[in-house]
């Protein structure tokens, strides 16, 4: 092999090096260290002391861990399907180019580029029971107007509601997915006399399913983490833990309580639950006839 061919072959790895190095230094290494810390008593200062499974035993009996985990799972259960449906609906609506499509598409994507903290502050105002614009609008429509972030039963749905408008990425992915479906398939269906619903269920949905699976897996992983900013800014986990999610729990355990071992143990457990959810999702998807190809 001449040297030119060898350097050609090495080139992709060379280009990947900065990214791989970053992933190793900033993700893999800290994650590995965190896994080790989960088995220690560590205040963040001084030396960690190995304590075996003690942190996990504590976590098991810790009310707040279970509250946070259940809240996070509830959030995922509500937010992921709704976000996916929203992205799908909007992608279908704006898939065909017309004169104003570009504007609409930009409008759908726009909330996604707003920094999370600003977005959370805006929603704190929107959801304000007295001074926000949402409740007067609901009352005008004759709908009930709950106190949102002040009410235990409504605070979590309120944060889900806020998340439903940051679906720009799913929207763009599905637009690309729709473009991926060959025109001829639709033409053939039309010749066969299929109506719009039949076309959607028999062609669009099956051909889009790989994209939908990809998005739902991504959204499950993301939703475990993305609750931090809204919970931190909008409610601080309240009222009475109604929006207390696992990332906030980990953060407070580590940086308020200085219990880094326990925080790492919770993180490890959340990591495992995330993997289980993703595996579950893949198995479900197989049941729907989804094929890697």
């Amino acid at each position: 092999m001449n040297s030119l061919a060898r350097s050609r072959r090495l080139q992709p790895y060379l280009f990947l090096t900065p990214y791989l190095l970053g992933a190793l230094l900033l993700v893999a290494l800290p994650a590995g260290v965190s896994f080790l810390i989960a088995f220690t008593r560590y205040s963040g200062m001084g030396r960690p002391v190995f304590v075996g499974w003690q942190n996990f035993q504590w976590v098991k009996t810790d009310l707040l861990f279970w509250v946070a985990l259940i809240n996070s799972l509830l959030y995922i259960l509500m937010a992921v399907p709704l976000r996916l449906l929203g992205a799908l609906g909007l992608a279908l609506l704006y898939s065909r180019p017309t004169r104003a499509t570009g504007l609409y598409r930009a409008a759908v994507y726009l909330p996604t580029v707003i920094p999370d903290t600003a977005y959370a502050l805006v929603w704190t105002w929107i959801l304000n029971p007295f001074y926000g614009p949402l409740n007067p609008a609901l009352r005008t429509l004759g709908l009930p107007a709950p106190s949102w972030l002040a009410e235990s039963a409504w605070a979590l749905p309120a944060i889900v509601l806020a998340s439903l408008f940051q679906i720009g990425e799913g929207f763009v992915v599905l637009l690309a997915g729709l473009r991926h479906i060959p025109r001829e398939t639709y033409d053939a269906a039309r010749v066969d006399g299929a109506n719009r619903w039949q076309t959607f269920t028999a062609i669009t949905l099956p051909l889009l399913s790989p994209w939908l699976i990809l998005l739902s897996v991504r959204d499950v992983v993301l939703s475990f983490q993305s609750t931090f900013t809204p919970a931190y800014i909008m409610t601080r986990g309240g009222p009475y833990y109604a929006t207390y999610f696992t990332p906030l729990h980990i953060y407070e355990t580590a940086l308020d309580g200085m219990h880094f071992g326990e925080a790492a143990a919770v993180m490890l457990l959340v990591f495992i639950v995330t993997i289980l959810l993703v595996v579950l999702l893949y198995n479900l998807a197989e049941g729907w006839g989804f094929d890697e190809d």
């Binding site: 205040s43 200062m45 304000n128 029971p129 972030l149 002040a150 009475y240 953060y251 308020d256």
Partner: protein, 423 residues
């Protein structure tokens, strides 16, 4: 060609790493929390220091929220890169002291020619001793007081709070000051604004003759379910649940009580001294402070922050020079004049810098009169968590989501494990 690319990549990477290093060669960094008006106070202090010590520039790091500040400080400590001088509340420094992350300042103070321990109020100094060693130098000896809107008292035809007013007097005033101004069935002006938390309930418990914990020096449990404490909690919760003189949950969520007070729609607001710079700047009405209304006995609660020197600081001597200056008569006078502190130096506290009746609040003496009755919360490794959890339960009691006894008992039961853990 390729070597050059790699070289550029290495240089770029190295420059990112070095960019993370703090870049104040001869100077020190000083981290504070507080509203913009409070930040201005520390800017003045730093400017005065830099004038006296031109060779020691100070980089001021400001984190507005107190909880955010706490978390930032913890993260910095863990990373081994804390500011050279940090402000910490006595309820929050124990975890750092236990890990040995703070340089004890007792020996520095002993050698100082500017200040000595006996210059300070002992009530402010004692809580900052960990295992009999002075860890940090307190800047203030604040306590909880009632800020009141004099204009609203005048409008209601009420006399201003007397120095010896009682819970009953306080409640009566609060009831007259709670009003539905536009008669739409919704209260627009509240008599009282008070946070539903352990640190606010505690002085009421002491005033009723109860205790917050079993042993101050080495507590093993909260004791807020004694008959006396229950009596205090029932009074405290009833402000919202029975008398509705404090905002309900919806109202408090829509606009918090401090903001309502500043906007002239809450007549009496409970806060420590730290609200003063902000109220001086933002309150468009006449206001003053009154002592806490008394129960069976008088009691106040200590609010004190101290200058601490993290052990990881690489500029300990320079940092001490700054701490010494900030807590000298000159430094404390500057901060006191801005309204931010009740000075921990006895001489400055009794000077016009603090007591000047032409600067609001006119009745600043209230803070000094309280000192003989002042109580401190215990200094404990897990106190932040204990207070957080207890406050969540008290919050439920305050907003009527459970009965007082249940709220108190759950607070005790849920916090118990945090008293013994990590010993």
């Amino acid at each position: 060609m390729k070597t050059r690319t790699i070289l550029i990549a290495i240089i770029a990477f190295a420059s990112i790493l070095t960019a993370c290093q703090p870049a104040n060669g001869g100077g020190i960094s000083f981290m504070v929390f507080g509203d913009p008006a409070e930040l201005a106070v520390y800017q003045t202090l730093v400017a005065a220091f830099e004038q006296a010590h031109p060779d020691l520039p100070v980089e001021l790091i400001h984190v507005p929220g107190q909880a955010d500040y706490r978390n930032r400080l913890a993260a910095d400590m863990v990373a081994g890169t804390p500011a050279d001088v940090v402000l910490i509340n006595y309820r929050h420094y124990a975890a750092f002291a236990q890990s040995g992350a703070l340089e004890p300042l007792g020996p520095y103070l002993a050698k100082s020619s500017l200040i000595q321990e006996s210059d300070f109020y002992i009530e402010a100094v004692e809580p900052f001793k960990w295992l009999d060693e002075l860890i940090c130098i307190p800047q203030n000896i604040s306590s909880l007081v009632v800020y009141y809107n004099k204009d609203l008292f005048d409008q209601a035809g009420l006399p201003y709070p007397a120095d010896d007013w009682t819970w009953d007097d306080f409640l009566a005033a609060a009831r007259s000051l709670t009003q539905d101004l536009d008669h739409d069935g919704r209260t627009d002006q509240f008599g009282v604004g008070i946070e539903a938390s352990l640190i606010r309930l505690a002085p009421f418990v002491w005033q009723a003759g109860g205790e917050v914990v079993d042993y101050d020096a080495n507590p093993s449990t909260l004791t807020i379910d004694s008959t006396k404490a229950i009596q205090a909690a029932e009074f405290f919760f009833s402000l919202q649940t029975v008398h509705h003189v404090a905002p309900g949950l919806d109202e408090e969520t829509a606009e918090d009580s401090e903001s309502r007070f500043i906007n002239g729609r809450t007549a009496m607001f409970f806060n420590s001294r730290r609200g003063v710079p902000t109220y001086r700047e933002s309150a468009a009405f006449d206001w003053d402070v009154a002592p806490l209304p008394r129960g069976e006995t008088r009691a106040g609660i200590l609010h004190a922050d101290a200058y601490c020197l993290p052990g990881a600081s690489k500029h300990k001597d320079a940092a001490w020079t700054f701490i010494e200056f900030a807590n000298s008569v000159e430094g404390q006078t500057i901060v006191a004049a801005s309204g931010r502190t009740v000075p921990s130096l006895i001489s400055v506290a009794n000077s016009p810098a603090f007591l000047d009746p032409s600067a609001k609040p006119a009745n600043s003496r209230v803070f000094l009169d309280t000192i003989p009755y002042i109580h401190a919360l215990p200094v404990h490794f897990n106190w932040i968590e204990i207070e957080d959890i207890a406050s969540e339960e008290l919050w439920r009691g305050f907003y009527g989501q459970t009965d007082p006894l249940d709220a108190l008992q759950r607070a005790i039961q849920r916090t118990r494990v945090y008293f013994t853990e990590n010993e």
